[in-house]
Symmetry: D2
Subunit: 401 residues, 4 copies
């Protein structure tokens, strides 16, 4: 498991959590992959996973873990104590991240000495990413690597400027003329190295024609975009209800507040735009028409990792009568995202073992903007996942003896 943004809150939680799971020190609550329909899949065990990653900041991972404990008041301090050795090992496998096209807010968080003062060309950066992965594979004799992007949201990237053929893009990279955002550089590095690339962020990543071609060429698979953890998850469960009852949604307002590093980045209007766009697509797809929507995301420092969302749904029923539903979601962001990262690792690992190539559309239920899928209704997406599982036999063991 290779995490981009390896010292962020989500990655830190993944690391603490996998450590506890490995030791059998906590229940598997929150893990989709532990549900009954997936029991026969012979998914990778928690103790078969080695973690490394890219990161642009240079605190110690264990300090990030203690900070997370303190700011969230969500889990016991002893969780970190107990994971200390594992966290130190992971820390040793973290390499400097890529800063292309991340915007000034993210760049401002980076440690200049660690990341290098001069920005290399996109092509060079791709090489470095691939080399980091290769070294990780070799050092730990890994059967395969799943790269999961957990970095902060980049500003929107205009994909129309890019060639749609991989050959052309490769030529630009070689010539040093390609302009690409970090998420895509990571994706190319990963796919080119034949590893699996999963994009848990709203950034563009591998969601480009040329990269889809690349994945097919390298016989590997990828998926994304934007993990569905909180407010949008609820939306994808609730919006179908209005559709199934033929109740007309007139407006749907969502107000999100939180105060973690991710929130600080989203406080930059450029980065926020990417996120809002990703959150807003669902309703029109599910309902078949576009009600007025408004999504706001505000950085409220005191909330830390506790993402609070208030949604107000104004709908019309029989005789045209307007009615209202409101909900408040108070979730600890990293605690919601981390288990999905573990699930994606396990499902993608199984798909890769089975030789899957291209987009892993059966993972749509995990994403706000699922690649290769237009169904946003949660139950339908979940059915895609269980159907995929039902079609699979027990399969080979995940790791060769």
């Amino acid at each position: 498991l290779w995490l981009i943004g390896a010292r962020g809150s989500v990655a830190t939680t993944v690391s603490i959590g996998l450590s506890a799971l490995r030791r059998g020190a906590m229940p598997t609550t929150g893990l989709v992959s532990q549900l009954a329909p997936f029991a026969h899949l012979n998914l990778i065990n928690f103790d078969q996973v080695v973690i490394g990653g890219h990161e642009i900041r240079r605190p110690r991972l264990i300090d990030e873990a203690y900070k997370l404990h303190e700011s969230t008041r969500a889990f016991e301090r002893s969780r970190v104590d107990d994971a200390a050795a594992d966290l130190e090992e992971i820390d040793a496998c973290i390499r400097p991240g890529v800063l292309h096209g991340v915007g000034p807010t993210i760049a401002g968080l980076a440690d200049a000495e660690w990341c290098g003062a001069v920005l290399p060309s996109a092509g060079e950066a791709v090489q470095r990413v691939a080399a980091d992965l290769e070294e990780f594979r070799r050092a730990h004799s890994l059967a395969r690597i799943i790269v999961i992007n957990l970095a902060s949201t980049e500003p929107p990237f205009d994909a129309r400027t890019l060639p749609t053929e991989w050959d052309e893009l490769a030529a630009q990279l070689a010539a040093g003329t390609a302009v690409l955002p970090a998420s895509t550089i990571y994706a190319i590095g990963a796919l080119n190295a034949g590893t699996v690339y999963i994009n848990f962020t709203p950034s563009v990543g591998s969601d480009l024609a040329a990269l889809q071609q690349l994945a097919r060429l390298r016989r590997t698979c990828h998926m994304g975009r934007d993990g569905k953890t909180g407010e949008t998850l609820v939306k994808s469960a609730l919006a179908p209800m209005f559709a199934m009852r033929n109740l007309e949604v007139m407006s749907w307002v969502g107000h999100n507040i939180f105060g973690n590093l991710d929130g600080q980045v989203l406080d930059d209007p450029a980065n926020k735009k990417t996120k809002v766009t990703s959150k807003d697509a669902l309703l029109a797809e599910v309902l078949g028409y576009a009600p007025q929507t408004h999504i706001s995301i505000e950085f409220i420092r005191s909330l830390g990792d506790w993402k609070t969302a208030w949604d107000h749904i104004h709908f019309r029923g029989f005789l045209g009568v307007p009615m209202t539903m409101q909900f408040t979601w108070q979730g600890c962001d990293s605690m919601l995202a981390a288990p999905l990262v573990v699930d994606l690792l396990r499902f993608a690992d199984r798909a890769a073992r089975d030789g899957a190539v291209g987009e892993l559309a059966f993972l749509a239920s995990f994403f706000k903007s699922p690649m290769g899928s237009h169904d946003h209704a949660l139950a339908a997406q979940f059915q895609q996942l269980t159907r995929w599982a039902a079609e699979r036999s027990n399969g080979a063991k995940p790791v060769k003896d």
Copy 2:
């Protein structure tokens, strides 16, 4: 369409609504049966429906309609003005209702002169119900009758005292020794007369072994119990989300407040018990375990028909972290129930045309406690409905020329 509780808020709304639909005076918002998957079913048209019913109170239907307009502030007064002639016609088709086993609160609402001072035996009451239906059929040359129970909730009825064989129950009825609640008396009258019986209330109705036998004997069909209109509808959309994400629901509290006649009846602890039991079954079925639940229903006069529910869901995620979701539902009860009544009429009519016998389990999505079905997840229930529709050809016209 024969409505039990024909001057109640839901029935009044059905009557106003069908009148408007017949005249093309309003959109079909809220009608499930108007959705695309059902377009080919050749469902009965709004102008092919004649309405009659049973009722224990004796106000004029049109006055109830004006009162509903005033208390809900939900629809225009002109809606009632325009439906006046239709409402008067319906009023003329309403017959005195049955008061067996309804408890003192409902009995206290009844008009003694209209319902008769002396309670007949259950057997005689069944006869009268059947005769009323027969007369209605004859007077309007009806192809078939769909009876829908919209009466207030009865106190719990202990079904264990009843014979499970229809023959035995029929003998008790003939002998004058049967003790039955009104909802069951209506059901027997309806099924015995070969009409369709749909129970939109939590009362027991036809949900008894002997009546299931009766329905099969008479080659007719039935379904129930308890229309799923508001808070429970949302539950059935949301609870699967927690299950699909393996989030552990620790407690789910639902607090319902409203002030219509139904609320007044539910203010009686005996009647409330039936309702709470019906609302509470869902979670354990969907989640596979039973979290602590608490459901309260309180009569708050000022709210009238505006049923407001606050739900508080306390759940646990990764690392055992507790999180919270709350929602508030502010719905106009009759406006939510009435279109479902029209849908049930149309779907049941189609099923009856096709010769369906026994429980109409494909209608599970409409009920809090669906007969013949243990699936409470809304999306799965809706799939039952669309699958049923997909298996049907256009079918014959609903009414013979």
Copy 3:
């Protein structure tokens, strides 16, 4: 009573309401001036009030009233029917409004023919306003005029460009060089004519050193700014609670959504800025420190006049424990504002009879940004009002026989 914005929702509600009150056709709910502490003040009766006003749009007032009835579903249609004659009389007393410095969004709503194609100089506009008031006084033989500004919010106006001496400003007006927003033009016209000017909007109005001088010179009184009707009213009741308990407010987020004409104007970022600034001052004043705050106002068409606010208060208690309070306010904006307008009319009329000069600081409880007062705690503000009342004897009759 002279209303600026005389065909807006608030003014329309004032007109309907005063008509009903005059006829004794409704209770006085919502009127502060009807509370016990003010019973002895001999306030002006509802039937002693004549209404006129300025307006930039040219629909018939009665049509606005019917539209308000339909869009709010808040009051009976017959309320408008019954007020028809009064509304027609008021309509005849409405004169074209002023468009200086209102910004393109408000200007875009104006009827060009009615308001005049060419913008006069500020000085000429002042003259016209004063002339309109004078004509109104003469036509109806009025004892005094209370001008209340109910117009939409103007963009921020930089008062530092203005002279602080009335003489200087008067000279600029005469010379045609003064640049003033409409709210200030109305205020000068009103004060210069010796009438009372009350600013119910967040626009600058008379809140300028030069105009305070003018009011004193003309021996008349004025007050403002920004009627406190909903979310801010609640804030001014709740924030003192946190202060009194020494609970530290870490953040206070307010999210406002509504869809009336006012909302449409506030959808323009320039106009919105004035409003947000006005809503945001309170907390720091009441708490004595400035927690992080975020106020958003979004135009959601389907809500019409129903202003819905969600507030999230994050605070810290003993042992530093963070806790949360949330509230949702669902109020019909015009119904909340209109009675306060009537109250301001009555209290200001009494103050004017008593010879009050300058700012009427005792009216602070009615305003989000009360002139001449730094106390934002509702209870303290209300005490100012009751103390003022207690100091007054019954006083003379409001109108000479």
Copy 4:
């Protein structure tokens, strides 16, 4: 400081908090007595307080503290580590409590060996309470003792059976015929010993004519009932807002859920009745009329000490338009109550130094059912407190050198 219920959550929090305050290890957030208007009062310092108390259970106080840390996730584990020595000292000063009239639910929590198998007569119990206090005073050479009742809520007690004269009650006690609830036994013991008795619970305590006489006879003071910590605190801030705006409250529904020991006791309908009665008095007093109210308190285990309240306020404004306000309060019960206990200690200590006799009505703002006061509006109550403070000079030092 003598706490009745000395190992309950509130008392445990008081003990942890005073320990931290003494060491200067935390800010004084939440302490009313630290606000500016009370700075000159020379209130007792945190390091001048010695804690003892009565309790019916026998866990170690420090274990209760760790349990509170774990169940609330509200404060750091190190808070308990650091207070360990202090907690052990307090533990040594805890004496067995009284079980008269507490009802079976509270009695079921008691440790039989610790409390004694046989219930003594009320008179004997009073003696024992007084002896415990006397011993505590002697052992620590205390200048004075403030007894604060933090025990769980007793079932309602019918005071009409009691004599209103102390002499008569004293005679009954001596004769062994008096039937009294524990809260009153503690109160008599405390007042008879000349100490101050403060009742932070809804139980009857000293709120009886005979005990008021006793307090005057012994020249000591007392106050109560029922600490105002959460939902009712908000009510007392919000209800006056509706009154001041002449908005008619039609209904006010409050739904409280929580899962601590207190909640378990209130799950017994008898004990709950006392609490609901105490919470419900406020509205009619503040509004001047009695809207429909409904208060429910439900025991939801998973919430532990996190008391969550949802309030729904249905009110009517101008033109009779109904509107709605809802709030959700998510507070950690003990963290809200504990600082008030410290405040009451400090204010009551000062009053006792000044020679106050009888009810301390100036402390009304701390109580849901304040003795000697009918004003429930928070701002007015707070004014009583600041006025009392303003009337006091610096006063003597709290403890003699």
